[in-house]
């Protein structure tokens, strides 16, 4: 039976090539947009290089202090992370790193813009950067405030050129000479909590990291639990600790500082009432709806036209006893065959678009790829498409009166 439907479908597609082209164009293009969008989102939030232990990590990246008149939100101070968060019992490790900041360095009268970040030793255990050479700095080196640096592959190429090994060489940044102790694979800037060109021990920070004893400053924390089962417990303990924090000033009466898993933390707006996650989801939903609505309506229009064209065929089948249900079923199958064809073209198109986007490198080091998640989203969209645009015309068709249908031609 299905084989028959398939044969009929192909015959119909061949008969009206123009309509087939319009349908395929609409489907494949819509799918391309959705696949590229999914690939981007997937890359930004789902790619777990370099923090591969996301399932047992909680991220703390912002604290908001509120009062009746005032409202202040910012990243955390080193003091807060070191004194309050470190004392928690559940986390086995606490990675502390500053936000990335910019500076320049000049090589052979050429300027290189560099971003740098201060980290502690645990940062390298909690995250799993791929070291192309060398290794991270140690606790001992941090305690001695040694001027050592882990640099990214990009900076290695920009600063030293194409040399095999740079470990042990010196790099000048912010007017200070640092000895390179390791080179890591690049991280895209979209991972703002982890991105940097140079990673330095926090003890060499020019601004005195310990003098700021307020809660807010320029540092992020990643709390690592022993297992993913401990994460809820860790979250609870963190919340309890925040609840007990004394207010830093009389103007405030509320502190909001969540420890969240990666995605909510990534989208944290610092405002309890305005979840970044909700914002992002609404924006994406509206965009997807708009992108899908027009082609769907278009497809419905085209499909109705196509069915009406086949009214004599439908009339004959009905006259010979085919039930409405069978006809609806047949038509939906035909439509799904068409959408799957469009889907295949769409996947090829998106491969091309992704390649072009990667080559254009709009965001450095953000390599967009197709993977299982992206493809399954694509397939799901296809099915929704096929059903949405097939059901209404099929229903219209099944209600055709046999006599009218036969008379039409």
């Amino acid at each position: 039976m299905l084989k028959n439907y398939f044969k009929i479908a192909i015959a119909v597609f061949k008969r009206r090539k123009f309509f087939t082209f319009i349908s395929l164009f609409g489907i494949s293009f819509t799918l391309t947009i959705l696949i590229v969008l999914t690939a981007f989102i997937d890359k930004v939030i789902n790619d777990n290089y370099p923090d591969r232990k996301r399932d047992r990590s909680l991220y703390v990246n912002k604290m908001t202090e509120r009062g009746d008149q005032s409202y202040n939100g910012e990243a955390l101070s080193f003091y807060f992370l070191d004194h309050y968060v470190r004392r928690l019992k559940t986390p086995v490790k606490l990675a502390v790193s500053s936000d990335y900041r910019g500076t320049n360095t000049y090589v052979n009268n050429k300027k290189i813009s560099i971003s740098y970040k201060y980290t502690n030793a645990d940062y390298w255990d909690v995250t799993e950067y791929d070291f192309l050479e060398g290794k991270p700095f140690t606790k001992q080196q941090i305690a001695n405030a040694e001027r050592v640096a882990v640099i990214s592959a990009d900076i290695k190429r920009a600063y030293f050129g194409d040399v095999p090994s740079v470990v042990g060489k010196y790099i000048e940044a912010d007017n200070v000479q640092y000895r390179v102790c390791g080179v890591v694979k690049n991280v895209p800037v979209t991972l703002y909590m982890l991105y940097s060109d140079i990673y330095l021990p926090y003890t060499v920070s020019k601004t005195d990291y310990s003098s700021n004893t307020g809660y807010r400053g320029g540092y992020y924390g990643i709390l690592l639990a022993a297992s993913s089962a401990d994460v809820p417990k860790m979250k609870k303990e963190f919340e309890q600790m925040v609840k007990k924090l004394p207010m830093s000033s009389k103007e405030y009466n509320k502190i909001y500082c969540p420890a969240e898993t990666f995605i909510p933390a990534y989208l944290n707006t610092g405002n309890e009432d305005k979840s970044g996650l909700v914002y992002a989801l609404t924006a994406i939903a509206i965009f997807v709806l708009l992108v899908m609505l027009l082609p769907t309506l278009n497809l419905i229009n085209i499909n109705i036209t196509r069915i009406m064209e086949r009214s004599s065929e439908i009339g004959v089948r009905k006259a010979f006893g085919a039930s409405s249900q069978t006809l609806v079923y047949q038509f939906i199958v035909e439509n799904i065959i068409l959408t799957i064809l469009g889907c295949l073209i769409g996947i090829i198109l998106s491969l091309i678009v992704l390649k072009v986007l990667n080559n254009a490198s709009l965001i450095p080091n953000l390599e967009l790829t197709l993977n299982f998640t992206v493809l399954s989203v694509g397939l799901l969209t296809c099915l929704i498409f096929g059903l949405l645009s097939g059901v209404y015309p099929a229903w219209r068709m099944s209600r055709l009166n046999v006599v009218d249908a036969l008379k039409a031609q």
Binding site: F18, F19, F21, I22, F25, G26, F29, I33, R101, G102, T103, N104, Y106, N109, K110, K111, S113, D174, N175, K206, T207, L290, V291, L293, L294, P295, L297, N298, L299, I300, N301, I302, I304, T305, M308, E309, L362
Partner: protein, 390 residues
């Protein structure tokens, strides 16, 4: 004539309803794109209002151990003199972090005679105007005479003046909650957020001794043709004067490129997506109209047989399509007009209205193009052949 066409449309209301919905949504998409394009283009046409070539920005952070306001001021005055004494440097100015072409914003609410506005709040000094070569509209910029005066002198831009005083002159007026801010001058609008964003309201105050430690930017204007070798020397000089500070030098030209990029990329992506959607819709419309006309061969044949010219047949079909478009445009304009009425995104009403007019014209042209060919084809039907088929 119209009555007749409406009857024809009403008879096929189910199918036409879908067509109208499709046109309506296309109209809304086109309207969104045009609004963005018109807004960006209007801003692009306005003068920049400042000179950004050969202006560099030094980012630093205050790490002085002393908290004595006078010695802080003395130190930074000294640093300014050191930079200014370099031969390639023309002017030097301290300013707050909301320098031109950054996303960084600082806003402060302000009430004046029942009006509430949220101007950008920028701290700067006497040389700021010369570094960026900003033009005065009335009054004057900060000068030495502004030391030790009871009312704090401020300079505002034209947009803020318009908002608060309309056509009146603003110089000499006192504003602020306790009337302690005295306007000494009005500058021409400056597009501080790049080519494609409007100026917005700006308020400039002079940096005083107490706010100096919070300042973190130096604007340096250099003579044309200054190269990276000098930049490196400038960098070393500042870094050696402020040993504990983190220094970064950026160029305003690069910052302008970055901020323009942020304004343009969403518009380009949206235009591409909308472009493909419209092609999609156009092909669909074309197909459906073409099919409908083919279905009505006998009707058309009959009309031809009783004397209608090919021109009037084709005109009938095209006007049917245009009436459908008109119906959807009326519904669409109803939604679109809510944007200026409710002042949704705080854009000037002119932007919405221009975009509305452009989208209406666009949809009409689109429908016209899609219906012309099917219409002409219908006109070419021979009555004898068409009537014979039935």
């Amino acid at each position: 004539m119209f009555r007749h066409l409406f009857t024809l449309i009403w008879n096929k209301k189910k199918q036409n309803f879908l067509l109208i919905t499709e046109m309506l949504i296309s109209f809304l998409v086109v309207f969104a794109v045009f609004t963005l394009v018109v807004f960006n283009y209007r801003n692009y046409r306005k003068p920049m209002g400042l000179e950004y070539e050969n202006v560099w920005v030094v980012n630093y952070n205050n790490t002085l151990k002393t908290t004595n306001a006078d010695s802080v001021m003395l130190f930074y005055e000294g640093l300014k003199q050191i930079i200014k004494s370099m031969p390639q440097v023309r002017e030097v100015s301290y300013t707050s972090a909301n320098i031109p072409f950054t996303q960084n914003s600082m806003m402060n609410g302000l009430d004046y005679k029942g009006k509430h506005i949220n101007p950008n709040y920028c701290q700067s000094d006497e040389e700021y105007k010369n570094v960026l070569q900003i033009k005065m509209k009335e009054g004057r910029w900060f000068g030495k005479e502004d030391m030790n005066v009871s009312k704090r002198p401020i300079v505002i831009n034209s947009t803020m003046k318009e908002q608060l005083f309309g056509k009146e002159s603003a110089t000499g007026k006192l504003i602020g909650d306790s009337k302690d801010l005295k306007i000494i001058g009005v500058i021409d609008d400056v597009k501080m957020k790049g080519d494609y964003t409007d100026a917005g309201a700006w308020l400039y105050v002079k940096i005083d001794t107490s706010s100096m430690p919070g300042i973190g930017r130096i604007l340096v204007s250099v003579v044309p043709g200054t190269d990276a070798a000098f930049e490196s020397r400038l960098y070393k000089t500042i870094a050696n004067t402020m040993k504990d500070s983190n220094i970064e030098i950026e160029h305003l030209t690069n910052k302008l490129k970055d901020i323009n990029y942020f304004a343009l990329v969403p518009m380009i992506i949206l235009s591409i997506v909308a472009g493909f959607l419209i092609i999609n819709v156009a092909l669909g419309l074309f197909g459906v109209l073409w099919y409908n006309i083919n279905k009505r061969r006998s009707e058309i044949g009959l009309r031809r047989a009783i004397g209608a010219t090919s021109g009037s047949v084709s005109a009938q079909l095209v006007s049917e399509a245009l009436i459908l478009a008109t119906l959807s445009l009326i519904a669409g304009s109803f939604f679109a007009i809510q944007f200026p009425l409710l002042n949704v995104f705080d854009l000037p009403a002119g932007v919405y209205l221009t975009a509305l007019a452009l989208s209406v014209v666009f949809i009409y042209i689109l429908v016209l193009i899609c219906s012309l060919y099917p219409g002409r084809q219908a006109a070419a039907i021979y009555p004898a052949v068409a009537l014979h088929e039935d």
